[in-house]
């Protein structure tokens, strides 16, 4: 066990965990931020996507000891109330079916739009290729990203 100081959603947190604990479990079980989801544990499904200094990363494969003083953003910190343009676009297009992958999809899309505010269809395809939606809501995900980008 070791103490780690983390900057998450603009706030300081201290956790006492095994150093190789992935951020996924630190966030879910030690900080009660459960918007980040467990899907595969090997960075293949994207359900655990968070931002590290604004870059989309897979929290399931990111040990807490590797974070240092870099800033973490989770879906809970993307906006205080669901008002981020992507969250609003997700509501407008009524994207979710089961909903389990959607926070990861939104976090990945938010990192994309931060880099590329008006991505083409092909750029969206490429950027979102790491996020599985088992229910198959891909068309609505793409439509929502385009709506958010246009807004």
């Amino acid at each position: 066990m070791a103490l780690f100081n983390l900057t998450i959603n603009g706030e300081q947190h201290q956790v006492d965990v095994v150093p190789d604990t992935p951020m996924l479990w630190v966030l879910r079980e030690h900080l009660n931020l459960v918007g980040v989801k467990y899907g595969c544990g090997i960075a293949q499904c994207g359900a655990c996507t968070i931002h590290l200094d604004g870059v989309a990363v897979r929290a399931c494969s990111l040990p807490v000891s590797s974070i240092g003083d870099r800033a973490i953003t989770t879906i809970e910190g993307l906006s205080p109330d669901g008002s981020h343009p992507l969250q609003q676009a997700w509501l407008e297009h009524d994207v979710p079916q089961c909903g389990y992958c959607q926070t990861g999809q939104i976090m990945n899309a938010a990192a994309l739009l931060a880099k590329n505010p008006s991505p083409s269809d092909e750029e969206i395809d490429r950027a979102m290729q790491g996020n599985i939606c088992r229910c198959g809501t891909y068309l609505r995900i793409k439509a929502a990203i385009k709506t958010a980008a246009a807004g």
Partner: protein
Amino acid sequence: MASVKTTLNRRSFLKVSALAGGGLMLGFNWACKPAPAASALKAMPESWYGINAFLKIGENGLVTIMSPNPEIGQNVKTSMPMIVAEELDVDWRDVVVEQAGLDTQSFRRQLAGGSQSIRQGWKGLRMAGATARRMLLEAAAQRLNVPVDELTTDAGIITHAGTGQSLGYGDVASEAASVTVPEEVELKDPKDFKIIGTTRKNVDALKIVTGEPLFGLDFHRDGMLIAMIEHAPAFGMKLKSLDATAAKAMPGITDVITIDAAPEGFDEQWSDVNAFPEKVVVLGRSTWEVMKAKKALVIEWEADSKLESTADHTEGMAGLLQSGRAEVARRDGNPEAAFQNAAQVIERTYSAPFLAHNTLEPMNFFADVKEDSAELVGPIQTPEFLRKSVSSILGLPEDKISIMMTRMGGGFGRRLYGNFGVEAAAISQAAKAPVKLVYTREDDMTQGTYRPAYQVIYRAALNEQNELIGFHVRGVGIHGSPVFANRFPAGTVDNYLAENLELDSNVSTGAWRAPRSNFIAGAEQSFLDEVAEAAGKDPIDFRLELFDRAIANPVGERNDYDAERYAGVLRLVREKANWGADMPGVHRGVSAYYCHNSYVAQVVDLVIEDNQPRVQKVWCAVDCGIVVNPGAARNQVEGGIVDGIGHAMYSALSFQEGRPVQRNFDSYRLIRQAEAPREIETFFIDNGIDPTGLGEPSLPPVSAALANAFAKATGTRLYDQPFSSNMEAVELSEPTG
């Protein structure tokens, strides 16, 4: 209005007067604090009045509607309360939806499966709303001292036109709660629907996109332990020895135990599919620590039956298809003579592999088992059956066991089989502690309950006039045959034979979204495309001719479809897609299928780009009767299409000496964003018929529409799934003309 008898049972209308704070429904609520469904017009009330098990009304007119069925992403948590709200006649913005727990005295069929929630819930939900409305009207009539028949309702307001008086539902809710339950109620004429038939957004959407706890894995109870399992690595193996010394010594680990989730005398339900009831269980304080300890277990497994490989399955099924003694499921006319006399016989074989369900939320369940009671919380499509199994394994009566259904991160049939819930209960009982059982993705993908592997041979006989005079289907599966003997084209051809075969195996299988249909529709509709081609006919015209036959003069009396409705979706998709139009570079395939009481026809537009096939557009016509929530219905249809294309193209679960070869998403391929169709357009038949299934029917036919389009593009037919592994050999090039 139609007058109908109220057939709900007594408890459903148990009246509770002046119940404060939620009364009857409290205790079912854990993470999901009630939140207004849409942009709420009203604040949370101070008192709730329970009118019946489905709904309670606040003094300010806010209405809580219980959603009885498990939510797996099929959107029943929005669509079922819409049906209650319609007959209650309230403003949807004044509705709050709560998930009900398992309560077999109040609700019927709290089950998510077979695309039946709306179809089988339809009348009961309407009655629940209509009955409550009637009770509110009677209370208002008393209060205003006017005849009840002179009162009308609109959006939660009761009006007496004669005197101009009006009351809100909240004003009379307290009195309505003690009105005698009417024996008959009037239901609305569907043409007067205001909520049904309009798009209402997912009531959980805001919680989903903000990451609030909704799913089973999100459930937390202070003091609970995390439990994870190891099961045998291969079908046909069992535990030989366990050395848990190292694992137990690891930080955060409280114990390592073994359980048997199907012991002697266990009263097995149909939902108890469990290839590995004997499990090693690691218990500890956090998931990561338990995951690490799992890897430190020293376990020896030994074979106790044959360790099968995919080659055994493939050859075994092929052998049965060639020479196995089949069960004759249906026989019309003289098929042997028809094939002997045919001018042309077409024969094709189709196959598909095992598939894992791969819900994105892996299996999990919370259980807190005490001496005389048990509480379970988690994602389950069949809570009623889970409770029976849990009752048997714990030795506790069912009424001492509560089950709360969480929102599910996908179902697809996997969560019909609640072995993980039974295991959680057994673990909690053994550990004498509340536990949350969590499967890793690898545990989830390797534990069985797969979509069966299938093979089928189709044969068609055509006469000199290119008419279909004989049809023969012979199917085999592990486990069960995929053939539906009484579905199309049965009934359209004089000489018909359907045969079933089954290959035994120790690999466990279960229902997977649109069971059997998910394979046989694609095979049948691909085959008919080739038969139409051999007959020199347009594939839609060819099918419509067969339906004409089934309408005018059907063969046999057990045909399980309505030929007019079937033909209706084909005609609609033909018109909408402008079938037959010249579209350079676009290759089109068609398919149609009937399952779960609904009819679907699809046209796939395929293009070749960078030597890769890409689905440009799917046109889809659906007849599922009344569409309760059109936007959500389209979402289901789109999801089924993407799911159907994805699994037909990319997915397979194979075996090497009993071991599942694919254990996670690095080797088990699922469809992703760049492979999804660019566009899907869905058209619903508007016929006013009571609603039928929609969670499954759009999936089965699409693999054939895709394969038929691919054949148009390349001249190559696809017979074996996953298609992508066969496409590699096909020369693909950009269209030249």
